[in-house]
């Protein structure tokens, strides 16, 4: 007991805080130490909010065609001009034709300074689908002038705007797909792990079988069977279902493994021997111990779905125009000529890579933090 007396009261309080911290607090404390994972979390929150408020964040509408503004390169926002500080602005563009190839080329006109304004009026839209408004996060005062942060495509559509709208589809496809897989995986994994026996064996066999089918050809085959004439919304749902049909085995394996491990834990038996009902054991003992692992596994499954959707749409088998998704946007970058002419068309691909990396980092961080009681 003299050891206790020799430690400062501050330490004791610290210790007591650790000893009485809730499991999720401990997980959060551990997660916080992964700087990259925390940064990824912030990035993902920003991206998803950007997608949710795409119409507000982007200055234009995704289908606004500007015939005189095709293949405009990304414009950079400046703060200082030759005259000193100006606040955010872009230079005007001078449009001309290359005398040899007759291609349109753009040059910045340093004499024309066009200030970038925040909360400007632009094309009308319904905020969150409810409130009609014209307010946009940023834009130019003069509706004749265009602000193309990431350039434009062959039809003069603003790539930044399309990227934000595309994020809605691509990012949500990951979540929707994962929720489908999750339902399947959790259900079958839990049944398999909890009941065991013949049921477990048959589900195991089924999973083994599904894993022995090459994923992408199967996706492609199924996706190709989706009738072209269908409503884009149906196609979207169907594509995510197809993606999840194959992805669930991984989740089911995680869930089953946890269930099996937990079922044999002494504390679960202790609860049973105290007379706890099946329901109580599952809800009070097993599920709380699994949630953090499942969340980590889900996080790691999202990027697979995003990559799947992008790949299918890129190949023209998934979502098709007029739906805007990152995979659809990348279709424009399929041939060498257009990339050579307008390399910024690859930017949706960069966005995919960043989001996928962020999910991977986040998932890794979560997985490391998932068991705060590791011995």
């Amino acid at each position: 007991m003299s050891t206790l007396a020799s430690t400062a009261p501050e330490d004791v309080r610290q210790e007591e805080r650790l000893y009485t911290a809730k499991p999720w607090t401990l997980i959060w404390w551990r997660f916080r130490k992964h700087k990259l994972a925390v940064a990824s979390l912030v990035l993902l929150i920003l991206s998803y909010s950007g997608a949710l408020f795409a119409d507000f964040v982007s200055p234009y509408r995704p289908f606004d065609i500007e015939k005189l503004q095709t293949f405009v390169p990304p414009q950079s926002v400046h703060l200082f001009s030759a005259n000193g500080f100006e606040g955010p602005f872009v230079y005007g563009l001078k449009r001309s034709r290359d005398p040899d190839t007759a291609r349109v080329i753009y040059a910045t006109d340093e004499t024309r300074i066009i200030p970038v304004r925040f909360f400007v009026e632009g094309p009308e839209y319904d905020f969150l689908g409810l409130i009609p408004t014209k307010l946009h996060l940023f834009g130019l005062d003069d509706p004749k002038q265009k602000l193309n942060l990431l350039g434009t495509d062959a039809l003069g559509r603003d790539l930044f705007t399309r990227l934000m709208y595309g994020a809605r589809v691509t990012l949500s496809a990951g979540l929707v797909g994962v929720s489908f897989s999750f339902l399947l995986g959790l259900g079958l994994g839990a049944i398999s792990g909890y009941y065991g026996g013949m049921l477990d064996t048959s589900i195991q066999r089924l999973m083994e079988f599904i894993r022995s089918i090459p994923t992408i050809p199967l996706w492609m085959g199924l996706a190709a069977a989706v009738p072209i004439a269908w409503d884009p919304l149906y196609v979207y749902v169907l594509i995510t279902v197809i993606l999840s049909l194959i992805g669930w085995t991984y989740l089911a394996r995680v869930v089953r493994g946890r269930f099996l491990a937990l079922r044999n834990e002494d504390y679960v038996m202790a609860a049973r021997l105290s007379g706890a009902s099946e329901f109580r054991i599952i809800t009070k003992h097993m599920l709380p111990a699994m949630t953090s692992y499942i969340i980590a596994a889900l996080t790691l499954a999202v990027p697979e779905m995003i990559l799947g959707e992008t790949a299918l749409s890129f190949l023209g088998l998934g979502l098709r125009p007029p739906v805007v998704s990152w995979g659809v946007l990348l279709q424009d970058a399929q041939n060498l000529r257009s990339i050579a002419l307008a390399p910024w068309l690859l930017l949706p691909g960069v966005a995919v890579v960043i989001i996928v990396l962020a999910f991977n980092f986040l998932g890794d961080g979560l997985r490391d933090a998932a068991d705060p009681y590791g011995r």
Partner: protein
């Protein structure tokens, strides 16, 4: 610094540890896992090292083999080992992956680990593992090494050694695996065998078989053994001399009789009294040591055992760390009160 002033080792001495310290630098702070351990082993002698978990007994023997984890810091002390040609090397000065220490490991010092299940490679047959060691140290042919493996398996009393040589560890029972492990450690007839809790994972009857085997092998090969255990019964069974460790220090060393019948350190006494013995007159309560082993980040000041010691004297035991004191018959205890404790009533 200690190395230069140490007296030369007497000729019968095989290995001597002087004031060995091993620390670990962890995120939570510096852990002094081993903090001034001194003991020695003479040729052909069995030293039993006893202590509870966290006493540093395993870390100490790993520093003999220079097998500490990479996070370990050598924090001083000397480990001197006599080679068969009579020369003495200071093991603690050898680089961890150097040629010299490698020529000692497995050849002059063999080691047996606690978990025979995981301590043998799962993807090599036991014969392959033994033969590789033999070839490494003797340059023998494959054929000779295989024969050596069969011979060793026979010597550790494995049934059907000619078949067992091609068997994989997971096909064997715990006791058989431990026999294979011992055969592996004895491949080159080392002069010192380090056994780290070799019987802890085994059942009593198997434990007895392994202890008998070790004893007969020791008579046959004439090697010395450092036998680590937490079981006083096992020590009493096999050791000539005993070192009792507590919190990274040696509390007491002496012959097995001295430790069991005339313990001088209150910790040794308390431990001996806290274990139930067969045929002991039925007592209702066991004697206990109050409190628990402190965690390695909060090692008590003064004598590390004082908070749990029934004889501790305030102002002395909680202030000054006691020095090792030598008594008649070479018994050494680290306690301020070692010669003034009341006689044991047995």
């Amino acid at each position: 610094m200690a190395g230069e002033t140490l007296p030369p080792m007497p000729p019968e001495r095989l290995i001597e540890l002087n004031d060995v310290a091993v620390h670990f630098s962890l995120r939570e702070g510096l852990v002094r896992a081993v903090n001034g351990v001194s003991y020695h082993v003479n040729k052909g002698e069995v030293l039993g090292v006893v202590g509870e978990s966290g006493s540093g007994k395993s870390v100490t023997v790993r520093s003999i083999m220079r097998l500490q984890p990479k996070t370990a810091l050598d924090a001083g002390g000397a480990i001197r080992f006599r080679l068969p040609d009579g020369s003495v090397t200071e093991l603690n000065r050898l680089p961890r992956d150097g040629r010299e220490i490698r020529s000692i490991r497995g050849r002059h010092i063999g080691m047996v680990f606690q978990e025979p299940m995981t301590a043998l490679s799962p993807v090599h047959s036991i014969g392959t593992q033994i033969a590789r060691t033999y070839q490494l140290h003797t340059g023998a042919s494959k054929e000779a090494a295989r024969n050596r493996a069969i011979d060793l398996l026979a010597r550790v009393q494995m049934p059907r050694p000619r078949e067992m040589v091609d068997v994989y560890p997971h096909q064997l029972s715990g006791g058989m695996r431990q026999r294979a492990m011992i055969a592996l450690a004895l491949t080159c007839e080392p002069s010192l065998l380090i056994a780290d809790e070799p019987t802890t994972a085994l059942d009593v009857t198997t434990e007895a078989q392994i202890l008998d085997l070790l004893r007969s092998l020791q008579a046959e090969f004439g090697m010395a053994i450092i036998f680590i255990t937490h079981n006083f019964g096992v020590v009493a069974d096999i050791a000539d001399r005993v070192a009792v460790m507590y919190l990274g220090r040696v509390a007491e060393t002496g012959t097995v009789d001295q430790i069991f019948y005339h313990p001088k350190h209150p910790y040794t006494r308390a431990l001996l009294q806290s274990i139930p013995r067969l045929g002991q007159k039925r007592v209702h309560r066991l004697k206990t040591i109050p409190g628990m082993v402190p965690d390695p980040f909060n090692i008590p000041a003064g004598c590390v055992f004082h908070p749990r010691c029934e004889h501790a004297v305030a102002g002395r035991c909680d202030v000054a760390e006691p020095a090792s004191r030598t008594f008649d018959g070479g018994q050494i205890a680290r306690c301020h009160l070692a010669d003034s404790l009341p006689e044991l009533v047995s």
